[in-house]
């Protein structure tokens, strides 16, 4: 899985070279990869089922290979207006992957684009995913995950009751980005590919 993650990350970085080579000084595009840890994968599979219960009569129906994010790539983009451009470039490379955007369930607002599909370049033919998210929101998710969920993957079950607060943070970060871009446009130094 580590090799698959490195392979996919490198392919995505290569695909984005036309963008990353023309970034302005205030702009960034960072590609990160991660392999889901075993305990997180089991927990993610468990959360898919009502009551987080595995049917004891049918253990054969459960497999970690049904998870879409055993290998995941996150592309952090700043400012957010670059995200559409990154999305277009990667769509041309992964046109048969399925769109599964990250939606804020409180506001209905789309927070990130996300796609999953079988990565045919890898021998294991795993289902992998990549997502494109603004840097501020992506880094918030990293901190949240590292501080809360990573030490105890079962704490992911708290997400439904933390939704209102998480949504408020996402909205505040998005408002910051929108205003930042508005000011850049006003000053005539916005991204040329908004």
């Amino acid at each position: 899985m580590v090799r698959t993650a490195e392979h996919l990350k490198t392919q995505i970085q290569y695909s984005l070279l036309p963008i990353t080579q023309e970034l302005k000084s205030h702009e960034t595009v960072v590609v990160k990869s991660r392999v889901k840890e075993c305990i997180s994968a089991i927990e993610a599979l468990r959360r898919r089922y009502p009551g987080t219960i595995f049917d004891p009569d049918r253990p054969e129906i459960y497999t970690l290979r049904t998870l879409h994010d055993l290998v995941g790539i996150r592309v952090l983009v700043f400012p957010a207006s670059r995200a559409n451009q990154v999305d277009s470039y990667l769509r041309s490379q992964f046109s048969d992957w399925t769109s599964d955007p990250v939606i804020d369930k409180e506001t209905g607002q789309q927070l990130a684009t996300k796609y999953f599909g079988t990565y045919t370049e890898s021998k294991s033919r795993l289902i992998c995913e990549y997502q494109i998210v603004s840097t501020l929101i992506g880094l918030f998710w990293e901190v949240e995950h590292a501080a809360i969920y990573k030490p105890a993957p079962s704490l992911k079950r708290l997400e439904p009751v933390m939704r209102e607060q998480t949504s408020a943070v996402n909205s505040a970060l998005k408002a910051f980005e929108d205003e930042f871009e508005r000011q850049l446009q006003k000053a005539g130094i916005g991204s040329s590919n908004g």
């Binding site: 009502p50 009551g51 219960i53 004891p56 049918r58 369930k105 506001t107 079950r157 708290l158 949504s167």
Partner: protein, 81 residues
């Protein structure tokens, strides 16, 4: 106020509490449990109607997006005892 939060307040007011292990809103007295997905995907009116729905007092009623197998239902009842 966001709609999802309104549904949670509706459940809170009806005596349901979030069960961290099961990821369900549960009322042991009413013997009813709602999955988080069911709450997300159904309107407030539907949740309200399910809360008010009369039940067989001896058996649990589970509100989920997918049908529960007999094994899952049995296991859920066991862990909720």
């Amino acid at each position: 106020m966001p709609r999802q939060t309104e549904k949670i307040h509706l459940l809170d007011d009806a005596g349901y509490s979030y069960n961290f292990d099961r990821m369900m809103y549960i009322n042991r007295e009413a013997k009813k449990a709602f999955s988080v997905e069911f709450i997300d995907d159904n309107p407030e009116t539907e949740i309200r109607s399910k809360i008010q729905e009369p039940t067989d007092e001896d058996d649990w009623r589970f509100y989920t997006n997918s049908d529960l197998s007999e094994g899952t239902r049995r296991e859920l009842k066991r862990v909720l005892q």
